[in-house]
Structures are given as C-alpha cells and as structure tokens.
C-alpha cells in the first residue's frame, strides 16, 4: 500500500471530505441500530424528524447548536495554531461562573450594556483559565493537552462547591443551583415560541469575525503560520510564543462565551449539568469544519441535530441516547480519514 500526495486537490474534493465522513459515521452507527432490532431507515428517519420535523424541533436544534458554535470556534482557532486546547468544557464553566458572579445582582446595567458586559467577563474568565496551561507550554514545554484536560475536572468541582455552598440559591428548594441572572442580563428570546435566544446571533457574529480575523488580519496569518510550521514562523520573525498565547486567550474566551450564553440565555442560572460535554463535542465540530470558522456553523448545527434527534428517537424507539455520543466520536475519526483521503491517494500495488 502506497500513500502519496495528490498533485492537486480540487475545492469540491476538499469540501466533500466532511460529507463523506458524516456518511461513513452514519453507516457505522447503522450497525449499532441494526443490533437494537430497529429498522435502520426508520431510526434515521425518526432522528431526522426529531431534529428538523417541526418548527419546535428546528428551534430546539438551533438552540442546542449555540454552545457548540462557540466551543467549535474555540477549538478551531486553537488547533489551527497546533495549540491543543481540550479544556473548552472547563472554560465554558469558567464563563458561566463569571456570568453568575457579575450577573446575579452585583451590577445592574441596562440590557444594551449588561449583555455585552456579561459576554466580555465570561470571555475573560474563559481565557484566564488557559493562562496557566499556555504559559506552561510556551515557557516550560509542558504538554497542554493534559493540563487543559485536568483543569476541566478542577473547574467542575469548583462549580460544584460554589453552587452547593456560598452561591447556592436559597430559593432553589435544595437543588444545587446558583441564583438566576437578573432580567437585564438575560439573552432575550428570538422568537415568540421556543427557547431560541440572542446567543445564536452572537455566535454567528463571532464565527464571521473569527473567520475574517483568520483570513485577513496579521494575527490570523501568524496563527496559521505557527500552526503550519512553528520553526519556519520563528525564523521569519514571528514571535511564536506570543502568537500561541494570544491564540489561547481567544480560544478560551470563545469557550467562556458559550458558558455565558447557556447561563444567561438558555437556563437563566448556573447548574452542574449546564453542559453535557459541549466542550468535548466542540472538538468534533471543529474537525468536521476542518478548522474553518464558517464551517463551524453547519458542523455545529449537524451535531446539535444528532443530539436533539437522537433524544427524540430514543423516546420513540428502544435505542439508548448514547448513540449520539458514538456518532460524535466516530465522526471525529472518520473526518480525519476523509480529509487525508482528499489530500492523499492510496495505491494498492507495491
């Protein structure tokens, strides 16, 4: 078996890579569905119907995609610079903590100021959480994957302490949750019905902004240069450490905004089940988007549809909801393969 680079990769071939990956993932999960005894077309039809079958379903799918757009962007920016931030989950909660600290009555501003203010403090908190890992990486070459992963657990325990202890809402009837975000800080709903909120607009704006930054700004150029070849970037006069640090702060900031959006937009208050692994799913989103900030939007909507749809599917027929997580994991692996196959070709003779 010989793997050799294709002489040229057409836009179509590159663009179709994630589509092939998704089809491959769906085909592999069909094996599991077959095992449950349900007919495969029925199961996938129910999944599709659950995600897009009604105005309510579409509303729910878009709502669920908001945190995934943010965490997907966070991962896409970081991975572009080969900074492997696997801590979006922790940074999301850091943002949620900031939104709770400042948003539950400490400061009251009119909504026009309050919402941006909460977004900014959330982003700062998310970025702040990455300062230690990124400095350890640039100064002492400590692997950021492990440090960011371990910090996820630390932050989650901190949240657990705060909402069971000092921040516990006395009105919550014993449930461990923090006080509600004040009305001025709540992200208003976009439609009369359903849970879709302003977070979607902010997430879409963030995608476009990050795309423009990566594409047109000097910083974006530096981030890409550092990612392609850090040695060459350093040689050409780019301050690699500085670029990696800025990348990390942007990445953490985006993940932090996911936390604000979930706290101030969807739930209204901080709980321990604020995120069912949005930080980790963000990795799948970014990979399906091939690290393209605009590609993050459809990728997030697709994976959100998988979650929302499989909830509906498992209610209707006897398939464990974990099928959605399997699909997410498989699609990460499948997209790695399909992107490689779009750039390389395999020849079977020796």
């Amino acid at each position: 078996m010989i793997i050799e680079p294709r002489p040229s990769v057409s836009v179509l071939r590159a663009g179709l890579a994630p589509v092939w990956a998704i089809l491959a993932a769906l085909a592999l999960c069909a094996v599991l569905i077959f095992w449950t005894g349900t007919s495969i077309p029925t199961a996938y039809f129910l999944l599709f119907k659950g995600a897009f079958g009604s105005a309510f379903a579409i509303n729910e799918t878009l709502t669920r995609s908001i945190p995934l757009i943010f965490t997907g962007l966070a991962v896409a920016v970081a991975f572009r610079a080969k900074f492997y931030n696997i801590g979006a989950e922790g940074q999301l909660y850091a943002g949620a903590l900031a939104a709770t600290y400042f948003g539950t009555g400490m400061i009251t501003l009119p909504p026009v100021l309050m919402i941006p203010f909460l977004m900014i403090v959330g982003a700062l908190a998310g970025g702040a959480l990455l300062i230690v890992p990124v400095l350890l990486k640039t100064r002492m070459k400590v692997d950021e994957v492990v440090t960011t992963l371990l910090l996820n657990f630390v932050v989650l325990l901190l949240v657990s302490y705060l909402i069971e202890g000092p921040w516990k809402d006395p009105m919550s009837l014993g449930w461990p949750q923090a006080a509600a975000v004040i009305d001025e800080g709540v992200l208003p709903p976009l439609l009369a019905k359903g849970r879709l909120h302003l977070g979607l607009v902010i997430a879409l704006a963030a995608s476009v902004l990050i795309w423009a930054m990566m594409r047109f700004s000097v910083l974006g150029y530096e981030i890409r240069a550092v990612g392609y070849n850090a040695g060459a970037a350093e040689f050409s006069g780019i301050n690699v450490s500085r670029t990696v640090i800025i990348t990390a702060l942007i990445s953490g900031g985006l993940a932090g905004m996911a936390g604000v959006s979930e706290t101030a937009g969807l739930k209204g208050y901080l709980t321990l089940d604020l995120s069912p692994g949005f930080g980790y799913t963000g990795i799948a989103v970014a990979m399906l988007a091939q690290l393209n900030p605009l590609g993050v939007i459809p990728a997030a909507i697709f994976l959100s549809a998988v979650y929302v749809g499989s909830d509906a599917m498992s209610r209707a027929i006897n398939i464990p909801t974990y099928i959605a997580d399997v699909l997410v994991g498989v699609s990460v692996l499948a997209v790695l393969c399909s992107v490689m196959l779009s750039q390389y070709r395999v020849r079977w003779r020796t």
Binding site: I3, L32, W35, T36, F79, Y84, I86, V132, L136, M140, K141, V142, D143, V145, V146, T147, L149, L150, L151, N152, F153, V154, L157, L158, S160, Y161, E164, G165, Y280, I283, A284, M287, N318, P320, Y322, I323, D325, V326, V328, G329, V330, V332, L333, L336, C337, M340
Partner: protein, 315 residues
C-alpha cells in the same frame, strides 16, 4: 498534623493506597509503552472505560473473572489497533485520533451497557476478585495486610513493572521499541519494520490500559458506573511525563500519587466542616499538573514522539 501521621500507621490507609495505585500502574505502563515507541495515546481514558465495562460485563454474563480480564485486554487491544491504524499506518494526528478514540470508546461502552441492561436502575453487581494472602508476609504489621493480602490483579500490576522494564531495557525487542520512539530511520536501516513495532507497542499498551480499567470494576468495585474512570486515564498520561518514561519511576510516581489520594480521603473526614470536600477531590488533578511542572525542566521526551513515520520520506 499528628492526626495525619496517625493515618499513615493504619492498615486501612495502606490498603486504600494499594487499591488506588493498581489501575494507575496498568494505565501508566500502557501509556509509557506507547509513548516509548513514539505514539501518544490519548485514547487511554476511553480504553480504560472499555476495559471496565467489558471485563465486568463478561463476568456478569456468566464468564470467569480471569476470562473477563482477558476479554477486557482483548477489547483494549482492539481499540489500540484502531489507534495504531490511524496514527502509525496512516500517520494522522495523534492528538485528535486519541481524543476521537476516547469519545468513541466511552460512548460505545455506555451504549453497549445500556443495550444489554436496559432496565437496570441500580447498577447490578458481580462477585469481584477475592484477596489472596501470601502466607507469612501477610502477617507483617500494618503493611503486611496492605501489601500481601490483595487482589491477584494488584500482584499482576506490581509484577508488570519489572517485566515491562526488563523487556524495554534488556531485550532486542525493547531496544527496537525505544528506538522507534527516538530514531525511527535508524530502526528501519536495521531492517526492522518501524510501523510494525509501533503498532505492536500501541496494541500491547492499550491492552494494559484496559486491564487497569477492568481492575476498577472487577476488584475495586463490583459494578460499572457511568463516568467511573473520571479522568484517571489523563492522570496516567501526566504520570508518564512525571516518570520520565521509566517504568521504575512510574511505579514510584503512581505510589506517591495514590498515597496522597488515600490520605486526602481520610483528611477529608478530619477536616470535615472546615474545608469543603470538593477541594479535596480537586487535589489529584492539581497534583498531576504540579507533577508535570516539577519534572518539566528535566523531561527528555522520546525524540520521535508525535512524529509519524512514512517509509522513504525524508525527515
């Protein structure tokens, strides 16, 4: 403070340390073997979950305990093979593949568990491994009970350390594995197939990780819970760095870590009311980060770690 020292003299503390250390030894050795061959295996968290679920499930479905351990190891090896196919044979990103394997393997474990036991609300139990006392030694005060009256899997873990050390450092095979992680071109020049060596190392390492997971459900506890691995895999990755890729130091590191964790559980009782329990639970993760910082200046990564090898391609 004197209370803390008293804890150190109780047999319960040492028994807990040994219990906590066993899965860490398996996981750390497994990761160490992979990384020595030049492959970072971030699938460890998921592979330990697979091991925990499959070993337990084997026994629950009526299989023997040792059969369960073997089955867990085989499942781990299978996911190791998947990881190796991506990272070694195709040369894809080791970071992303590893995370993908973890997501896939954990989700698949949960899916299979729910599929086979759809209605279980309280996790069903199995009859776990019994302690086996080593005659004579187990009568020693304090440590006798802890060290020499343990589950056979713990003895297996302790035995695995010198075996892995011997194979890695005293056999031609081990030399090939270590060279594959340092200078794969030189290995290839010796007529040894780098891809085969790396694949083998990842498969064996992953099997060990899975046995570590199986220890948790088959010896430590007697049931499988969701989220049961809870970051132990990541802690093993940190321990490998702390141990500078040496099996002996890995054992020492795992013991220090497990000792502190066992102490933490007991200190939690002492400090109950003063310090919230969450801060004690944070300690293992913070200690792992600190351990990496402490060793950062001294660590000598395997030179070819994370570098895919493509035959005939110049580096």
């Amino acid at each position: 403070m004197s209370d803390l020292f008293e804890i150190l003299l109780t047999a319960g503390f040492w028994a807990a340390t040994i219990r906590i250390v066993s899965p860490l030894i398996f996981g750390t050795l497994g990761e160490l073997i992979c990384e020595r061959a030049g492959v970072l295996n971030l699938g460890i968290e998921g592979i330990m979950t697979v091991g925990a679920m499959s070993g337990w499930m084997w026994v629950y479905q009526g299989g023997g305990l040792w059969g369960g351990v073997l089955f867990a190891a085989a499942m781990g090896a299978l996911f190791g093979l998947l990881h190796a196919a991506f990272t070694v044979q195709l040369g894809l990103s080791q970071h992303v593949t590893g995370i993908g394997i973890t997501l896939f393997a954990s989700a698949l474990s949960y899916f299979v568990y729910r599929m086979l036991l759809p209605l279980a609300t309280t996790p069903p139990k199995i009859e776990p491994f019994d302690e086996v006392a080593i005659p004579g030694l187990s009568d020693l005060p304090i440590i006798g009970e802890a060290l020499f009256n343990q589950s056979p899997l713990t003895y297996l873990a302790l035995l695995a350390v010198p075996v892995v050390w011997y194979v890695l450092h005293r056999t031609p095979l081990g030399l090939a594995v270590r060279m594959a992680g340092e200078n794969p071109v030189a290995v290839e020049a010796q007529g040894i197939n780098v891809l085969a060596v790396r694949t083998g190392a990842v498969v064996v390492g992953s099997a060990l990780m899975a046995v570590g997971g199986a220890f948790i459900t088959m010896s430590w506890f007697d049931a499988f819970y969701f989220g049961m691995i809870n970051g132990r895999g990541w802690i093993c990755v940190a321990l490998v760095i702390f141990a500078s890729w040496q099996p002996g130091k890995a054992l020492a590191g795992a013991f220090i870590f497990a000792g502190l964790e066992a102490l933490q559980v007991r200190a939690q009782v002492l400090a109950g009311g003063f310090i919230p329990y969450q801060f004690f639970l944070m300690l293992p993760y913070i200690m792992s980060i600190l351990a990496m910082i402490v060793m950062a200046r001294k660590t000598k990564y395997p030179q070819a770690l994370l570098v895919p090898f493509r035959r005939g391609e110049r580096v």
